[in-house]
C-alpha cells in the first residue's frame, strides 16, 4: 500500500470511445476498430469474499445500473445456496427491476437519443442537451425530469437507498412492503404509466416517421439476438431461460448455467473488451451477417420473445412486427424497442403493486453455505447480464465471471461503426458530420462506457483516428 493510489479519474472522465479507421489506397475504408474502456481487476477483487456480500459489492462498483447487477448477483447467490424464494420475495425484486428500467429508459430516450431525434441529427452540439429538449418541448421535458426523479423515490421507498441497493439478499428480499407504502407507490406508478403511454405515441407520431431514412441506413447490420423468455416464450426481464435467435428466425434455448456451451469469448489484441459470440453456429468472425454474430439489449429482447405479457406493450409489439418483421434488424430500432419496454415495465410495476401478495411478510428463505456454482442472469436495460460464481464449503468465492451487456454488443458496435464509416467515407472525403453519424450508430446500443465518457451535452466523446494505408495517423476527428 506504499504507492500513491489515484483512481485516475482523468483517464475515465476525459476518456473517449476510441475509433480507428484505416483507409485503403483509394481513400475508402479498409477497416475500423472501436475500443471501449473496461474496468479490470473486478473478478480478482471478489475472490475470497463471502458470496452473500456480492449483491452489495457489485452495486458499489457499477453505479450506473446498480439494480441490474444487484439482482443478477442475488440470483447467482440464490443458485449457489440452492434456495427457492418465497413468492413475495421474488415479486419485490421484480417490482424494483421494473422501476429501475423506467428510470434508465426514460433517461436514455429523452436525454441521450432525444437530441438525435427530437432536435434532429444535425442539431448543433451546444443545444444537444436537456435544455435543448426543454426549449423544444417544454412540458414534456419537465414531466421527464419529474418522473425520472419519482422513480428514484419509489426505489428508495421500497429498498431504502435508491443507489447501492441492499434490498435483495440471497434467498429473497430484506424488508417487506407495508400497505401504507404500497398505497403511496400506486399513484406514482400510475403517473409513470401515463408518461410511458405518452412517450410511445409522441415518438410514433412526431419522431420516428421523420427519421425513417436515417433508421434504415445508419449502422445497419444483420445478426442473431439473445434475450430471456419464460417457458412459454414470453418476454421476461427478471427470470427465465436464454433464447439465442439467429438471423433466419430459428433459435436455441438454454438454462443459465449452460451459457458457456453456447457463448464463446474471443480476445483481440487491440482491446481489453472481449468479443462474445454464438459458438454453436460457428467460429468468431468480426463480420456483418457472420453466423456467430449476435446482439443484446432492447431490440434483441423483443425479437426473441413470442409475446409480451402485458396488454399495451403487446399491442405495440404487434404493430412493430407488422412494420419491421421478426427478427427486426435495423440498428436504430433499438430506440423504438426501448419505448415498448418502457411501457411494459410501467404496466408491470402497476400490476405488481396491485398483487395482494406483494405486502406479504414471507419474503426470505434461510440459506446455508456450501461448495457450489451458481449462475444468475437478468436482462439489464443494456442487455443480458450474467453473474457466475463458485464457492468453497465455507461459502467463500473461488471463481467469479461476469459477462456484461455492453461487452456482448462489442462486435455489433464495431460492425455498425464500420458500416457507417464505409457508407460515409468515400475517396478520402469525410467531415464532422461523419463523426455525428458514427456517434448515432454507437448510441443506439446505449453502451455503458463509464460515467465519464459522456459529456455535459449528452454526446459520447468520440475520437476517430484516420489511418493511411501504411498505418500513419493522417487525421483525428473529435467532437
Amino acid at each position: 500500500m506504499g504507492q500513491t493510489l489515484v483512481i485516475q479519474p482523468v483517464s475515465r472522465i476525459e476518456g473517449h470511445a476510441k475509433i480507428t479507421i484505416q483507409l485503403d489506397d483509394a481513400g475508402n475504408v479498409a477497416d475500423t476498430m472501436v475500443n471501449v474502456i473496461e474496468l479490470r481487476g473486478f473478478e480478482r477483487f471478489c475472490v475470497g469474499k463471502p458470496v452473500e456480500e456480492m449483491p452489495r459489492i457489485t452495486t458499489r462498483i457499477c453505479g450506473v445500473c446498480p439494480w441490474s447487477h444487484h439482482l443478477a448477483s442475488a440470483k447467482a447467490a440464490d443458485a449457489v445456496f440452492g434456495v427457492q424464494l418465497p413468492p413475495a420475495g421474488e415479486k419485490l425484486r421484480r417490482l424494483c427491476n421494473s422501476i429501475a428500467y423506467m428510470e434508465e429508459h426514460i433517461l436514455h430516450f429523452y436525454i441521450l437519443a432525444g437530441p438525435d431525434f427530437i432536435l434532429g441529427p444535425d442539431a448543433e452540439y451546444p443545444v444537444r442537451n436537456v435544455i435543448g429538449i426543454l426549449d423544444a418541448v417544454p412540458d414534456v421535458g419537465r414531466q421527464v425530469v419529474k418522473v425520472r426523479h419519482m422513480c428514484a423515490k419509489m426505489l428508495e421507498l421500497i429498498a431504502g437507498k435508491a443507489i447501492h441497493p441492499a434490498a435483495a439478499v440471497p434467498g429473497g428480499f430484506s424488508r417487506p412492503l407495508s400497505e401504507d407504502e404500497r398505497q403511496s407507490l400506486l399513484p406514482m406508478a400510475e403517473e409513470a404509466l401515463e408518461l410511458a403511454k405518452f412517450t410511445i405515441s409522441f415518438a410514433k407520431e412526431n419522431i420516428f416517421p421523420k427519421y425513417m431514412d436515417v433508421v434504415k441506413t445508419v449502422g445497419t447490420i444483420t445478426s442473431g439476438f439473445l434475450g430471456t423468455v419464460t417457458d412459454d416464450g414470453a418476454l421476461d426481464l427478471y427470470d427465465g431461460k436464454l433464447r439465442m435467435m439467429y438471423a433466419d428466425g430459428s433459435y436455441e434455448e438454454f438454462p443459465y448455467d449452460q451459457y458457456t456451451d453456447y457463448i464463446g469469448e474471443h480476445v483481440e489484441p487491440w482491446t481489453y473488451l472481449k468479443f462474445p459470440y454464438a459458438k454453436k453456429r460457428g467460429p468468431f468472425e468480426l463480420e456483418d451477417n457472420a453466423p456467430s454474430l449476435y446482439r443484446v439489449n432492447s431490440l434483441a429482447r423483443i425479437n426473441v420473445a413470442d409475446y409480451i405479457p402485458t396488454p399495451l406493450a403487446q399491442k405495440e409489439l404487434e404493430e412493430f412486427r407488422t412494420s419491421f418483421g421478426r427478427p427486426a434488424q435495423l440498428t436504430l430500432l433499438y430506440h423504438w424497442a426501448r419505448l415498448i419496454e418502457l411501457l411494459h415495465n410501467a404496466e408491470l410495476a402497476l400490476q405488481l403493486l396491485n398483487d395482494p401478495e406483494i405486502t406479504s411478510s414471507d419474503i426470505r428463505a434461510s440459506v446455508t453455505p456450501r461448495a457450489a456454482r451458481g449462475v444468475g442472469v437478468v436482462e439489464a436495460p443494456r442487455g443480458t447480464l450474467i453473474h457466475d460464481y463458485t464457492t468453497d464449503e465455507d461459502g467463500l468465492l473461488t471463481h467469479v465471471n461476469l459477462l456484461v451487456a455492453t461487452c456482448q454488443n462489442n462486435s455489433a458496435i464495431n460492425l455498425s461503426v464500420k458500416q457507417a464509416a464505409k457508407t460515409l467515407i468515400k475517396d478520402g472525403n469525410y467531415d464532422q458530420g461523419t463523426l455525428n453519424t458514427i456517434e448515432m450508430a454507437i448510441r443506439a446500443y446505449d453502451p455503458c462506457l463509464s460515467c465519464s465518457t459522456h459529456r455535459m451535452d449528452g454526446t459520447l466523446p468520440v475520437k476517430v483516428d484516420i489511418l493511411s494505408p501504411n498505418g500513419e495517423v493522417i487525421d483525428t476527428l473529435t467532437n
Binding site: I7, G63, V64, I111, T271, C448, M456, D465
Partner: protein, 88 residues
C-alpha cells in the same frame, strides 16, 4: 463493465432555469445537471451519467465505494498490459 465514480458537489447554481452543479472528481471539476436530484447539497456526492447527476450519496457511502475502486485499480495494475505497438 461500466463504472460510476462518485464525485463531490462543490458548487450549485441555476443556468437556463436548470439546477446545475460543479462536481469534483479527485481534482477534475466537471459540470453536471442536477435537476434529477432536487435534494442534493454542496459537500454531498453524486454519480454522473451522460452529464446528469443520477444518484446521491453521503460521504461515508462515497468513501466506501472509492476505497473499493482503489483496491481494484491496484489489482488491475498487476494484469498484463496491451501490446503498446498496436493501434488502439
Amino acid at each position: 463493465m461500466c463504472l460510476g465514480i462518485p464525485g463531490k458537489v462543490v458548487e450549485i447554481y441555476q443556468a437556463n432555469d436548470m439546477k446545475m452543479g460543479k462536481v469534483d472528481f479527485g481534482g477534475v471539476i466537471k459540470e453536471a445537471c442536477l435537476e434529477f436530484l432536487p435534494d442534493i447539497q454542496v459537500g454531498e456526492y453524486t454519480i454522473i451519467h451522460v452529464g446528469f447527476g443520477i444518484s446521491q450519496l453521503d460521504e461515508e457511502e462515497a468513501q466506501r465505494t472509492l476505497e473499493m475502486l482503489r483496491e481494484m485499480e491496484m489489482l488491475a495494475d498487476e494484469l498484463p498490459e496491451l501490446d503498446q505497438g498496436l493501434q488502439v
